[in-house]
Structure formats: structure tokens, C-alpha cells
């Protein structure tokens, strides 16, 4: 039974109406409380972690200047990752804290990595932009827009060849859609029927470039037609809709039917990076879009009987504690000795 409905969202940058899949309010009520709490927690975890990261960044605690937060976009990684299985893989972008935490990465060792500490996931050599936990099938956040798409295709290829029943999730932005390698990968995956789901997180901007100057038509799923690929466009602020669409596409990929493409329409609430005051955006657009906060939308959609204020408060304090612990862990961890900069060049 398909439980998704369709809403129409106006994309300001495109000045066109785009039909997106979204949950219909009345169908949502069946959602169980455990799931709702889980999704809420994961989204809040990403939100609070990034708020904390920004705070530490301002205080000069981060070891690198490269840091991109995904505040406002949490529903996409959380909805998608909620459908992943343990053997699955994912590849991530420069804006990767959400993918990382939603996949189950440890916020302590993540924070330590951002602080450039030896206990960090990459021994301080990667920082925010290369946060990675291979043990949970996270094959790396990547600094090259589109650069990781090759890794995703390859992981899917070997999953298929070695019959692991694993699906690879390849997150990328609206900017990644216009890099040639996306098309090479989509085509290869389609011809070889690789078990991969491409997830385009369309936050409507690539740095200062609005979606309507980046592409000539607004439907991400249209790109899939060239590759005879299953595709859905979804309201990326609605975690239940994302979860449902992702479930369908991941199942499709896992069944051996070939790759799929998910277009998730979302919004970057803050600037591209700390250096960016987003002057190129219309303040009206910003406030309209910020009002569509995925945390609020989930709570409104499921109602208090499923996710009570008390639930939300409890989750919030659990996470606040976790953040304090993570920062404390990062603080006390030793800096990577300088000689480690010369290690691990070769395996």
C-alpha cells in the first residue's frame, strides 16, 4: 500500500511549481511512536551537533577552517538512513555531519576529529569535510563535489559481484547533479543494474548559485529517465515522506532491479559556510523556508499522541548531555603527534 500523497511546493528559486511526494496528514496517524521518537531524536541529534560545532568553530576550537552545516536539511539523511541495513554503504559530501550521525557515527569521535585530535575518526587529518567511519559502512565525506560518486558506484559494484545484499546510498547536492561524473555513474549503474540509490539533496543553492541558474528544469526525477531508472521527488522537510520514498527505492535497488534516484527538496537554513552571510538570498524566501523546519513538521504531522512534548524534552536533554560529553571528549583528547602527519600515506 502506497501511503504517500502529493503536495505542490513552489520553489522560489525556480518560480515554478514542482509536485513532490509528501505525507498526507490523515495517513500519518498510523505511525508508531517508537519510530517517530527515533526519527525525531536523529534529526535533533544532527541539529544540536551542528549548533555545537558552530559554537566551537566560533571559539576557534576546530583544527581546520572547512566546515559546512546542514541545519534545516536533517530530514533527508535521517529519513534515508532509517531505511538502511547494517551491511549497507553510504558516501557523503562536504556537508556530511547529518549523513554521518544518521548512519550511527559516534559524535564523540566525530567531535574529536573536528578538533584535530588523535582520537578522531581520521586522526585529525580529515576534519569535518572528510568525516568517515568505515566500520559502519560510511565510506567518507568528500571535499570534491561529485567526487565520491565514483566510490559509491564502486561499492555498489563490488556488493553486486560479491553478492552481499548491500545497497549503497550516494548523497549529493543540487550542485553535484551538474558534475559530469554523476551522469557517468548513473549510466553505469543503470547499465549494470547496480544496487545503489542516488539521493540528491536539493537545498536550492550550490554556494550562491540558485537552482534555477544551475539547471534548466526543476524535476530531479526527470534525470532518471535518461537512465531508465526508478525515481521519486520528495518533500525533503518531511522525514516520514523521505523515509517512505527511500524505503521504496532502497527495496527496489536491493531486489536487483537496478539503481534509483531520490530527489529531496530541502533548504539550507544558514550560509554555505561560516564565511557566507547568504546575501544572494531573498530574506523573505529565507524566512518562508525556515518556517518549514523538519523538526516542527514531524511533530505537527504525527501529533502529540505519538510524540509528546515530554518525549521531545527527554530526547533534547539526552542529546544535550551527549553533546557536552562529545565536546569534553574532544577537549581532553591529545592532539595528534606531528609525526603522524607522515604516516598512512601507503597501506
Amino acid at each position: 500500500m502506497r501511503r504517500t500523497g502529493v503536495i505542490t511546493v513552489i520553489f522560489y528559486t525556480m518560480r515554478k511549481q514542482t509536485k513532490l511526494i509528501s505525507r498526507e496528514r490523515d495517513l500519518i496517524m498510523t505511525t508508531d511512536s517508537t519510530l517517530a521518537r527515533h526519527l525525531y531524536r536523529e534529526m535533533l541529534l544532527v541539529r544540536r551537533a551542528e549548533e555545537r560545532i558552530l559554537q566551537e568553530l566560533m571559539q576557534g576550537k576546530l583544527a581546520s577552517t572547512m566546515c559546512h552545516v546542514s541545519i534545516g536539511q536533517e530530514a533527508v539523511p535521517v529519513g534515508v538512513c532509517s531505511q538502511m541495513q547494517p551491511q549497507d554503504y553510504l558516501t557523503s559530501t562536504h556537508r556530511g555531519h547529518g549523513h554521518f550521525l544518521a548512519r550511527g557515527g559516534d559524535p564523540k569521535r566525530m567531535m574529536a576529529e573536528l578538533f584535530g585530535k588523535e582520537t578522531g575518526y581520521c586522526k585529525g587529518r580529515g576534519g569535518s569535510m572528510h568525516i568517515t567511519d568505515a566500520a559502519i559502512g560510511h565510506l567518507g565525506a568528500n571535499g570534491i563535489v561529485g567526487g565520491h560518486i565514483g566510490i559509491a558506484a564502486g561499492a555498489a559494484l563490488w556488493s553486486q559481484m560479491s553478492q552481499r545484499n548491500a545497497v549503497t546510498i550516494c548523497f549529493f547536492g543540487d550542485g553535484g547533479l551538474t558534475e559530469g561524473i554523476f551522469h557517468e555513474a548513473a549510466n553505469l549503474a543503470a547499465v549494470w543494474k547496480l544496487p545503489i540509490v542516488f539521493v540528491c539533496e536539493n537545498n536550492q543553492y550550490a554556494m550562491s548559485l540558485p537552482w534555477n541558474k544551475s539547471v534548466a528544469q526543476p524535476h530531479i526525477k526527470t534525470y532518471a529517465d535518461s537512465y531508465n531508472m526508478k525515481a521519486l521527488d520528495v518533500d525533503g522537510q518531511d522525514v516520514l515522506a523521505v523515509r517512505e520514498a527511500a524505503g521504496e527505492l532502497i527495496a527496489h535497488a536491493r531486489s536487483g532491479a537496478g539503481p534509483a534516484l531520490l530527489g529531496a527538496y530541502t533548504y539550507r537554513f544558514l550560509g554555505h559556510s561560516r564565511a557566507d552571510p547568504s546575501k544572494y538570498r531573498d530574506p523573505d524566501e529565507e524566512s518562508r523556508e525556515r518556517a518549514r523546519d523538519p523538526l516542527l513538521i514531524l511533530r505537527a504531522n504525527v501529533g502529540t499522541s505519538i510524540l509528546s512534548d515530554a518525549d521531545a524534552d527527554a530526547i533534547n536533554s539526552e542529546i544535550e548531555t551527549l553533546m557536552d560529553e562529545s565536546v569534553a571528549f574532544a577537549e581532553v583528547s591529545p592532539l595528534a603527534p606531528l609525526t603522524t602527519a607522515l604516516e598512512d600515506v601507503y597501506a
Binding site: G143, G175, A341, L342
Partner: protein, 330 residues
């Protein structure tokens, strides 16, 4: 004389060339309203409009391709690649196409295109945003390669590059944009292919370029106090290299250090050292030493980053080493 930051000197060059020549236009990621990731093109959109300051989609190969094609039929594009690391996505367009078109097509077509980009460390930007890849371009016949240090050089060389008529790889440095220097007031150009002696000296020649010129100049005072006069040769243009100026300085001092931020193995320092060794065989007092980044990818952690690139310590050790040959041999 005006004191200008590197980025402002570059912008002045772009502004003047665009004012004077309608064929000159800019394209790249975030060069318009954003003003460029490092703000070099800030304000040019307002001045020249969307047709001549063009924000492109994220498609590095076609940024270079479109610039090249426009150049072949009459345009004078200045394309910006946000980081040199992203040139890896456009190497076919740069190397197989732009560099070879004039030759391969028997001189029928040419590619008067400038490809501005920036490279180097200093921001903890990590392995994929901090490389120095000049030696790749230096290896490709048909390209010219520029890597200025001083704001006035950045200005004068960018103007020459725009007027040159060949594909130029113009390598800025992310750590220099805010650095200020004096720039003459009137319009001027600086010819490609001519090195500049940034400090005269008699005992040691340091040959370098881009941000490392600053490091070289920094250490000279300390050594001057010890009676060691260091000559700093800023090659400025990496292709063609001005071997005459280098050899003259090296012949005079007899001690040469080549300093760069790119990793040592296969860096431009190898080319310079190899050629000078041949030209000055038997006339050097000490071996030519190369001071360069360690052969590792660049770590994001700023402390680790600093540990792998040349600093005053490593440069000082090299100076001390070549100076020891004085005592032994003279």
C-alpha cells in the same frame, strides 16, 4: 604608489582589462553575486553585468571548455576554478585541448584564455583543497604558468596574461589574498617569463615563487645579521622559466636553495635544480638543496599541515647546510 591587497590588485587588473577590451569576460563558480570564493571578482558583476561576469553551474570541465571555445572564436575569457584541486576535473580540456589546439591544428586556431585558480595551504583545508599542482602544468607544452607573490606582480602579470594570446594557468595562493603590498599608480604590465630579484645578496640564492617568497624574505634579516647575504629570486612565471636570471644569481653566490610549497618529488624545484646543475656544473660551492613539502597528502589539522610544509626551521637548516660548504671548501 598605493598599498593594495593581493586580491584587490588582481581585481584592479581584471577591472581595467574588462574596461579596455570588450572581449574580456569572466566565468566560474560564484564569481558573480558572491564575488568569488576568495572575493577577487567582488563588485565586477555590478560593474559589467551578468553577460560578462557569468556564474556557472558546478561543472569544471565545461567551465574550461566554454572558456576555450569562446577564446577560439574571438572571446578573451578569464575562467576561475575555485581551487586548483578542481582542475583535476578539467585536465582533458586544459591539457589535451587548450594546450594543443594551436599546434595540432597547424596554427589555424589559438586559445587566448586565462585560467585563474588558487592553490596552497594555510587554511587547514585538507588533502583535497590545499594542493600545489604547478608542476603538472609546467610539464605541458602549449601552456604558460604564472604564480605571483607580490600584489604588483599579481596585477602586472594578470594583465599580461589576459593579453597574451595563449592558454595561461594563473596560480594565485589562498594564503596571499589579504597580504598587502605597494602597487604603482598608473597602468603597467609585467612581462611573462621574467624573474624578479626580490632581495639582492651574495652568499646564497633562494629561488622560489608564490607564498614561499614571503618565507624566504622573512629569514633573510636574521642571516644578514650573521653576515650571510641571501638573494631571493622570485621566478614569478613558472613556464617559461627565466633560467638566465636564475643562473646568473646562482653563478654569483654558488649556493642555491629551491623552495616551494608543492611536495618535493616531481616538483618544479626538480626542474630548476636539474637545469642549474647542468648549466653551472663545477661552479657551485654546495649542492643545490630543495626545500619543499613532505611527500604526503595535506592534513586538515592546521598544526599537522604546518608540520609538512616548509617553514623557517627547514629553510634555515638548508641555508646552514649550504653555508657549511664555505668553511669546508673555500
Amino acid at each position: 604608489m598605493t598599498v593594495l591587497a593581493y586580491r584587490d590588485a588582481l581585481r584592479r587588473a581584471l577591472y581595467e582589462e574588462m574596461k579596455q577590451d570588450e572581449r574580456v569576460f569572466i566565468l566560474g563558480e560564484d564569481v558573480g553575486a558572491y564575488g568569488g570564493a576568495y572575493k577577487v571578482t567582488d563588485g565586477l558583476l555590478k560593474e559589467f553585468g551578468e553577460s560578462r561576469v557569468r556564474d556557472t553551474p558546478l561543472s569544471e570541465a565545461i567551465i574550461v571548455g566554454a572558456a576555450m571555445g569562446a577564446a577560439m572564436v574571438g572571446g578573451r575569457p578569464v575562467a576561475e576554478l575555485m581551487y586548483v584541486d578542481f582542475a583535476t576535473l578539467a585536465m582533458d580540456q586544459i591539457v589535451n585541448q587548450a594546450a594543443k589546439i594551436h599546434y595540432m591544428f597547424g596554427g589555424q586556431l589559438s586559445v587566448p584564455m586565462v585560467l585563474r585558480t588558487q592553490q596552497g595551504t594555510g587554511r587547514g583545508a585538507g588533502a583535497q583543497h590545499s594542493q600545489s599542482l604547478e608542476s603538472w602544468f609546467v610539464h605541458i607544452p602549449g601552456l604558460k604558468v604564472v604564480a605571483p607573490y607580490a600584489p604588483r606582480d599579481a596585477y602586472g602579470l594578470l594583465k599580461s596574461s589576459i593579453r597574451d594570446g595563449n592558454p595561461i594557468i594563473f596560480l594565485e595562493h589562498k594564503g596571499l589574498y589579504a597580504v598587502k603590498g605597494e602597487v604603482e599608480d598608473g597602468e603597467f604590465t609585467i612581462p611573462l617569463g621574467v624573474a624578479d630579484i626580490k632581495r639582492a645578496g651574495t652568499d646564497v640564492t633562494i629561488i622560489t615563487y608564490s607564498r614561499m617568497v614571503g618565507l624566504a624574505l622573512d629569514v633573510t634579516e636574521k642571516y644578514a645579521q650573521q653576515g650571510v647575504e641571501i638573494e631571493v629570486v622570485d621566478v614569478r612565471t613558472l613556464k617559461p622559466l627565466d633560467f638566465n636570471t636564475m643562473a646568473e644569481s646562482a653563478g654569483k653566490t654558488g649556493r642555491v636553495i629551491v623552495l616551494h610549497e608543492a611536495v618535493k618529488t616531481g616538483g618544479v624545484g626538480a626542474e630548476i635544480s636539474a637545469e642549474l646543475n647542468t648549466r653551472l656544473f663545477g661552479r657551485l660551492k654546495a649542492p643545490i638543496l630543495r626545500v619543499a613539502a613532505e611527500d604526503v597528502p595535506l592534513p586538515a589539522n592546521l598544526e599537522l599541515e604546518k608540520a609538512v610544509i616548509p617553514g623557517a626551521d627547514k629553510l634555515g637548516a638548508a641555508i646552514d647546510e649550504v653555508m657549511r660548504y664555505q668553511q669546508e671548501k673555500s
